[in-house]
């Protein structure tokens, strides 16, 4: 009964102990400013940053000088879009292609860029959340400068055909940006094989600290700076480096690389157990996202005739933390833009719950989650005036 299960690992993850241990001395022992190269304390900090940079580069099959540290995945997304758009503005290149299911860091940035005459095409997705390659090809214009597609969706876990998209971008001489914040550590990423030019990453989704992001920029890419100031990050991203966070990011990536196969295999087992458990024990549910082409830790169902926030409150009472695509949990008018883009009706979208798993969980925890969900859904459905699909689709 006193079980505490954290099933919201797409929101953030527990920082791994090995990561904390690695970071610790950079707070109070090796606290030098990496720009202070004339004494040892500064040089040590610089070395630590470069070590982390190499770890990331190796993991992505990139070169060290193609890796930059930022403050978050959001900053990386902003940098990629604004940096590319502004650098090419006076060249008649004013068109971006992205998708309807991107993170708000992309969508709101594209909205902002409209002010500068940048147009954006938002690609549709099918019921599984996959883009249509033909629509992508048809959307390409002579003035298209950038294609930005997320590797894997944060809500429904759907993995896009990144290599195919990358090939198309390359063939047309268009830059290709990938938001890989959710994909890092769960999918193998080789930036060369996938023809990626720019890629956003974040540490706290893979057992690293919050407040540190990463950006891959293929050498030779025309992009403006986003944060202006000192000469840090080879003059591309100003601001004193968060050394301890960079060290933590590096360590988290080192662990991700080391344990990759075992990690993905384990998560997939747990994910499938939860998907099967819910499907087999609770009627009137819809799996959101792709049945197989999905992140190894993502489970997202809609439970018809009930509302997501109520489910979350009852889950919390049973010690389970999860998240929902219901409008009620976000303070916005509409349920999740991702679920609506997959063609889900509003009523069904309001009853969606996302579980994102970690390796800390056991089979027993998964079974407890299924049992708890069954209890909660039964209880809320007994209270609901909506009893069938016909009620649900009124109005």
């Amino acid at each position: 009964m006193s079980r505490k299960l954290y099933l919201d690992n797409a929101a953030t993850t527990r920082v791994k102990k090995e990561v904390i241990d690695e970071m610790r001395q950079y707070f109070d022992i090796l606290y030098g400013n990496p720009s202070s190269q004339l004494y040892e304390l500064g040089r040590k900090s610089k070395e630590a940053i470069e070590k982390a940079r190499k770890t990331l580069a190796d993991f992505l099959n990139a070169e060290e000088k193609e890796i930059y540290f930022t403050a978050s995945g959001t900053e990386s997304d902003n940098w990629a879009l604004k940096g590319v758009a502004f650098a090419n503005l006076n060249k008649g290149k004013n068109h971006i292609i992205t998708t309807k299911i991107e993170h708000h860091a992309i969508l709101h940035t594209c909205e902002y860029l409209e002010k500068f005459g940048i147009e954006t095409t938002y690609l549709d997705v099918d019921r599984y959340g996959l883009i249509d390659i033909e629509q992508l090809k048809e959307s390409i214009r002579p003035e298209t400068i950038l294609i930005s597609v997320m590797f894997a969706n944060n809500e429904i876990g759907t993995i896009q055909p990144i290599e195919e998209i990358g090939k198309i971008a390359k063939d047309h001489g268009i830059l290709f940006h990938v938001d890989a914040v959710q994909a890092l550590g769960g999918i193998r990423i080789d930036v060369n094989k996938l023809h990626i030019d720019l890629m956003s990453m974040s540490a706290h989704k893979i057992g690293g600290p919050k407040g540190i992001g990463g950006m891959y920029i293929r050498k030779g890419t025309r992009i403006d700076n986003f944060i202006h100031g000192g000469g840090q990050e080879r003059g591309r991203r100003a601001g004193t480096e968060g050394v301890q966070n960079i060290v933590g990011f590096g360590k988290a990536v080192e662990i991700a690389a080391r344990d990759f196969d075992k990690h993905v295999e384990r998560l997939t087992v747990l994910r499938n157990r939860l998907i099967d458990g819910i499907k087999n024990n609770i009627p009137d549910v819809v799996l959101n996202g792709h049945p197989t082409q999905r992140l190894p830790n993502n489970v997202n169902f809609s439970y018809k005739f009930v509302e997501g926030e109520s489910i979350l409150l009852l889950l919390d009472m049973e010690g389970i933390s999860a998240s929902s695509g219901s409008a009620c949990t976000s303070g916005s008018l509409d349920p999740s833009h991702v679920l609506l883009a997959t063609g889900l009706d509003h009523g069904t979208a309001h009853g969606s719950i996302r579980f994102t798993l970690s390796e800390e969980l056991t089979e027993e925890d998964i079974d407890y989650t299924v049992e708890t969900m069954k209890k909660i859904i039964t209880r809320l459905r007994a209270m609901s005036p909506i009893k069938n699909d016909e009620d649900l689709h009124k109005n």
Binding site: E307, S310, A327, L333, H350, N395
Partner: protein, 142 residues
């Protein structure tokens, strides 16, 4: 984020469930907005003898329905029609600003059920003379 009273009514909703042969029934909201409330009334000699609710919605929607049923149970139809969303919010010990529409929905559900009763029983309830249920169709006032 919610008060103790809201959580209590969410955890242990009063008067929840379906009612057979109600004297009045009202339903407001729609699935698109994520909130639907249905109120059933059993009325004898203008007194609300029993009330039940069914709600599809968030925690505050369920709590608002629950407390609204408590506030009108045993009251006369003339008192019940006076129930305001403000009274619902106060009785709940407050609602977060984005959730105030839930209390509005509760007020409307009660009025809608009373209107249904008045129509069926051929009665006039002061305050409902000009009431039209369709006017209460709220447009996702989150």
């Amino acid at each position: 984020m919610y008060s103790e009273i809201v959580m209590d009514h969410f955890r242990n909703p009063r008067n929840v469930g379906h009612m057979e042969k109600p004297d009045g029934v009202g339903q407001v909201g729609n699935p698109k907005c994520g909130d639907i409330m249905k109120i059933y009334l059993k009325i004898k000699d203008d007194i609300i003898e029993d009330v039940k609710f069914e709600t599809f919605g968030c925690g505050s929607a369920i709590a608002s329905s629950s407390i609204a049923t408590e506030l009108i149970k045993g009251k006369s139809i003339h008192e019940a029609v006076e129930l305001t969303n403000k009274a619902v919010v106060e009785a709940l010990g407050g609602l977060p600003p984005v959730k105030v529409h839930c209390s509005v929905l509760a007020e409307q559900a009660v009025k809608s059920a009373l209107y249904d009763y008045a129509k069926k029983a051929n009665k006039v309830i002061k305050g409902l003379e000009n009431y039209k249920p369709e006017d209460d169709e709220i447009h996702c006032q989150h």
